[in-house]
Every structure is written in C-alpha cells, then in structure tokens.
Amino acid sequence: MSEAIAVKNITKVFPNVIANNRVNIAVNEGEIRAIVGENGAGKTTLMKILYGLYHPDSGSIHIKGVERKLSSPRDAISRGIGMVHQHFMLVPSFTIAQNIVLGVEPMKGLFVNEEKLVKSVKEVSARYGFDINVDKLAADASVGEQQRAEILKSLYRGAEILILDEPTAVLTDMETRELFVMLRRLVDKGKTILFISHKLREVLEISDFTTVMRNGQVVGTVKTSETDQHQLAEMMVGRETIGGRIRTTCYAKDTVLKVENLSVLDSRDLLAVDNINLDLCNGEILGVAGVDGNGQEEFIEAIMGLRPIINGKITIEGKEIQGLSTREIRESGIAYVPSDRYRSGIAIDAMVWENIITGEYYSKPYSKGLTLVMNKIITITKELVEKFQVSTPGVKVKTGNLSGGNIQRVIAARELGLENAKVVIASQPTRGIDIAGTEAIRQILIDYTSRGAGVLLLSADLDEVLALSDRIVVFYGGKISDAGYWDEGIRDRVGQLMTGGLGE
C-alpha cells in the first residue's frame, strides 16, 4: 500500500500558543486513521492546515509522495482532499443537491442546469450507496442527512482523502453506526479517511491506526487493534482520567423542582418540548442526556423564563414560577450556567467584576439605593476570583482577554458562588476547561447536593453525565424518557434512549 498523505515537521504558532509543534503523520491509502486528543491538543489546527485554511509556519505536506502547497481550500479540493466539518457547512435555504454542487454547478447557457444538477448528484450518491433525499432543503434535513450531504459534497468533487472533524459529536448511536458502515464502504472503494475524535470507544471501533496528540505534539501512533481505551486515555491526558462518585438515590426526599406537562416552541415555531414531566429531588444530580437539538436547550430556557411556554406548570418547592420574569425565577432559588457561554453566559467586553455581579448587582451588599458600592464589589469579586481559581491579572480586566477555560470559571463564580441556590441548572459546565478545573467544578456541584440542593446537569458529552449523575433522563424528539438510577447498565440504556430506541 502506498502513502496517501503525509505531513512533515508541521509547526503552527498562534499568539500565545503553539498549536502544532513539529507534527509528523503519514497515512496510507485505504486506511482509516483516527487522530485523538483533548480539546486544544492541536487536532483541528492540523486539519485546517491540511485543508488549506491555515498555512503552517514551517514543515511540508506531501500528497501521494509529492510535496504540495495548499494555500486555499480550492487547492486542497483540487488535490483530492475533502473535509467534513464538525459544524456543517450547508446553506439552509438551498436543497441538499444545490449544496453538494455549490461552486461546481452544471450549466445550461448562463444558467444553472437544475435538472442535470439533481441527476448528477443522484448518480454519485448511488455509486457510494448513500440513502439521501437530495431535493430536501438543508434546513429541513436531519443531522444524519446533513452529514451525508457533507460527505457527498467532497466525493462529488473527487475527493480521495476525507477528513472528518468530530463527525459523531452530533450523531445518535444509531446514526454513528450507519456512518461507520458508510466509512467502511468508502475505504473499500480506495478512499483514505482521517477521523478526528476524542471519543475513544468509537475510535477503537472504526480506525486502523490511531495517532494521539497532546499540547500540539504527536505523542505516538499505535495500531488500533493492539491498544485499548485505557492506554489511549493515558496517552491523551498524560495521567489517569477522573473517576466517578458515590451515587445517592432520592427515594425518600423532597422534590425541589417539578415540571408538569410542559410544552415549548423553538425559534422556528416548531414544537421543541412536547408535554414533558420531570421531578428533581434535593440532594441529587439529575443528568439530562440527549443529542443536541432534541429540545433540552428550549426546555431549560423555558424554565428560566427566557422562552415563552405554550402549556405546563413549573414549581420550585411548591411555588409556581412559570410566567415570572427571569429575575424572579432566579430569586426563587435557581442558579443557571448556560451552555453557549459566549451567547448568553458572558459579556466578553465587560470587566471581570461586572460579569461576576450581573446576577446580584441590585441587592446588598453590591448596591445601596441607586448606587453600586464599588469597594464592596471589588472585594467580593476578588474573593470569588480566588475561590474559583480564575487566572486573571485582576478583576478590572476585560473578560474577553481571558482564556476560554477562565471565562467558564468566571461564569461559575457568578452562578455557583451563590451557595443558597436550591436548584442548579448547569449546562455543559466544564466544556473547554482543563482537568483540574473540571474536577473543581464537579466538586462544587457535588457540594451543592450535600447542602440539599438539586442539580440538573446537561451535557452533550455522555461521559460527563455518566460520571456525575445519580439518575439520568434522556431527551429525544422533544420527549423525555427516564433511564433510571445509575448502575452498570445505564450507558446502554441511555444510548438506546438517545436514538429513540426504548420508550414507546
């Protein structure tokens, strides 16, 4: 077998960080190569270099043994490299077929030949055995369909080497299995695949070889059949990963948050949450699992008063909160860590102290009458910054100048600094934070339960939910199903529920 693609001594430096440090990787034709590493290990930078989106500061790229300069995606495409991005690159108002041919449209005179366009897309789709309705608008396509469209987009352009960036992050287990079947078929037809992931189980299942990256460097490459999850994890983080915790059950405890018959529309006025019931007890961590976009985001926003509800009742310790303002809801005892931190978790142009007091600025001791009490604010926010180990030169610093992990800590300092919360809603609370920080935040959540609060923990990362939760519920298609209390079999149950497997 001959070499399909190789990078030699690639180095890429960004201000403050060496994203790739003398990276060497060679992949053979017809191989599935997994590239794994934690967030920030340099995987994505490397892929962007291979796709011509970034230019390396030094080092070279070799395709089929010949050194090539890739100065733009166009170059990469013409050398037979195709990329399937983690966030799909489809134009919502175009059909799947139009998306696939975008940039290489078949013509009839001056105009696009729509007929030939559809026909040629169908041909390619049939050649690789894809099951896809190409006349659908991308906006209406399911996540799996969108991904197939992305892969077809590359194949249509004659890609020989496919790069898939975290392809399973948004897929259900079922869709993931379908994807793997598809990838195997492509490899059989001689394609080469680079598969970027941090999900070790999947890597072990699909890849031929696995390259592990850490801090911008290649730690090593192993034959997948000769390794295991344990070894890969150790290579990735340089030490053992965090373990679980002692679980509690809440049979005899009180309900702190009760949701009854809740229905909510999403931004496009489609039913996102469909008649949901949920009880959260004090002292428990209730994990909420589910693939993104199954209604969990809208569910939380409705609880927080950020999204109108069509129907239903929400109570905290017996007090109804639906229809109240977000502030009143918070005052009845909810702390909230939003999932999209840049959208709704933080004002990046505001100072650190401003971000920390935003939930409480109007009450003592932060303010008196109409005025903010600055010296009190500074003292208290400084304490919180210290307690939550935010690494910052001071509290009078623009929050946007901090790193992603530290920004997440600022949010935690604001929301989880309130020790009297009865309900904590934490959506992806540790996303982008290093291991030490993750452990600290998890400990804070556990401390809440020991004080009698209930924690609702949402995460797209199943491992995080499994590591902390006493009980898990799963969102699928706007409905909720109970996966029960934590035990050895819960991963399988949750996995099946995420794909709509059990339930009805």
């Binding site: 796709y51 989106l53 733009s72 995606p73 166009r74 495409i77 990329m83 991005h85 966030h87 690159m89 489809l90 134009v91 919502p92 108002s93 175009f94 139009q98 998306n99 975008l102 940039g103 449209e105 013509m107 001056l110 105009f111 696009v112 987009k153 352009r157 018959n261 229905s263 529309l265 006025d269 039913l271 008649n275 069509i310 129907n311």
Partner: protein
Amino acid sequence: MGSIDFGKIFTLTLFASTFRMATPILLATLGGIFSSQVGIFNVALEAMLDIGAFFAIVGSVQTGSPLGGLGYAILACVITGLVFAIIHLELKANEIIVGLAMNIFAAGMTNYLLVAMLDATGVYQSDLIVGFKEVQIPIIKDIPFIGDLLSGHFPLVYIAFLSVWLVYLILYKTPFGFHLRAVGEKLEAAESIGINPKRSKYFGLIASGFFCAFGGTFLSLSYLNLFAEGMTAGRGWLALAAINFGSSKPVRSLVACLVFGFADALAIRLQQFGLPSQVVLMLPYVSTLIVLLASAMSDERKKKSIMNKHQKLETADI
C-alpha cells in the same frame, strides 16, 4: 375639507404616477438586495442615490446627453460602493457606521461640489441639463386604460421594473447568484468550497452603487431636470424598509416599493386638492411604519395559529 371628491383623487393618473414614484425606491431596493444577499446591511443607499442624482446632472451638462449623465452617475456610485467596501472589508470598520458616515459625507460632498462645480447653492437648474424623454410603447399605448397606465413613462421606469426580473434571474438561476447567496447566508460554507467571500461582498456593494446610480439619475434627469439638496428625501431608507419587508427577495420587496410609490403619488395628488403639503408629505414615511407593522402582525398571526394547533392537540391527548 369634507368636500374632497375621492373619485377625482383615485384616477388612472394616480396609478400611473405610482409606477413613477416607486421607480427610484425600487432601483435603490434592488441595489440594496445585492448587499443584503451577501450579508451586508447597506445603510448607504441614501448616499448612493444622492451621489447618483448629482453626478447625473454633471454628466448631462458636460456631455449634453442623459445617457452621459447616467454614465457619470454609474461611475460615481460604483466608486462609492468601492470605497464603502474598502473601509469595511479592508480596514474592518463597522458596516452600519461606515454607511451612516457615507450618508453624511455624501450630503456634504454634493453640497460642496454644487458650489465648486456648478456654482449654485441648494438647487441647480439650467437649460444645459438634458433629461430623458418619455417613451410611448407602440400598440400598448393605444389600448384604453392599459395604454395610459403602462405607456408614456420614462425609460428608467421600464428598466427598473424589468430589473426586478433580471435581479431574480441573477440571484436564483445563475451559479454566480448561488455563490452570492451562499456567502450571505452561510459564509463559512461558501469559504469551505473555495468561494472568496470578500470578492462577493465587494461585488454586492458595487452592485448596490450600480443600481442606485440608475435611481439617482431618475431623480434628477426624469420629470424634473434639476438637482436639489436633500432631493432623495429618505428614499434610500424607504428602500431598506422594503428590503426588510421582502426578506431581501426581489419580487416581495417590489410589493413594498409599490406601496411606498403609491403613498408618494397620493401625497402629490392630495396636495393638488389643497391639503397642507406638510401633512401630506408625511404619508410615505407613515406608510413605511404601517407596512412594517402589517408584516409583523401577519407573522404573528401565523405563529398564533401554530400555537393554537399545538394546544388543541394537547387537549385532544387528554
């Protein structure tokens, strides 16, 4: 005031002048659609109309032909679009603020050049200005009603309405249009398959200038052959409202332009009937607010019906 005879107000002439009054707004709208389809909110349409109107006069005087005027206007407006693009795309200034600056700068510039080039303050009117002539369309002009409605307009009126179709074809039928829309709707998607978004944005702003040049030329070289300070009278802003109403789609935006044109025509008509001009001249702006309100109301009605449907379903479950 009770003695106004509405039969005399709503005449064929009123509808014919609706087309005329809609024309400059429509041309600015089509220009603005190109910007908004590549994802730039172009608030400089007013400036582009102003500059177009002024240079059309200069060109007409210097070349002695309305086409010469149009040529000058196109050149000036294309440069305006280019300057906007450079400051926004190369120097990375905020697009709305650049647009606002453009409006102020253009007002100052046309005023300055009016003195410096044409030696006039406020208004320039002269026999040297050669304007466009009305076009009689053979056959159609002899059909009763339709002839009065459709024939006898200035050429730019026909160009404007035909351009709606042309813009539709460009945006929705050519690969070029596909690429422009892809850039505006999902920039990363366009970039990832090798479309250069910056080039598309340059094109969008320059196309805005191109169409506004026609709109400006219409203002100064059709009907009234003169240039007056502030003669654009907010038509660039009405165009933005039309784009907003039509979700950047040419045909839907046309509807709003016709409403604004009608309000304009009605205002002129009512003035002839002795209503205070100050009140009547508010009509186009008030009609804009009403159009925006009406479209928001119909959106909400749709949403309500969806919610009702869901609620009914739920009661049915029980």
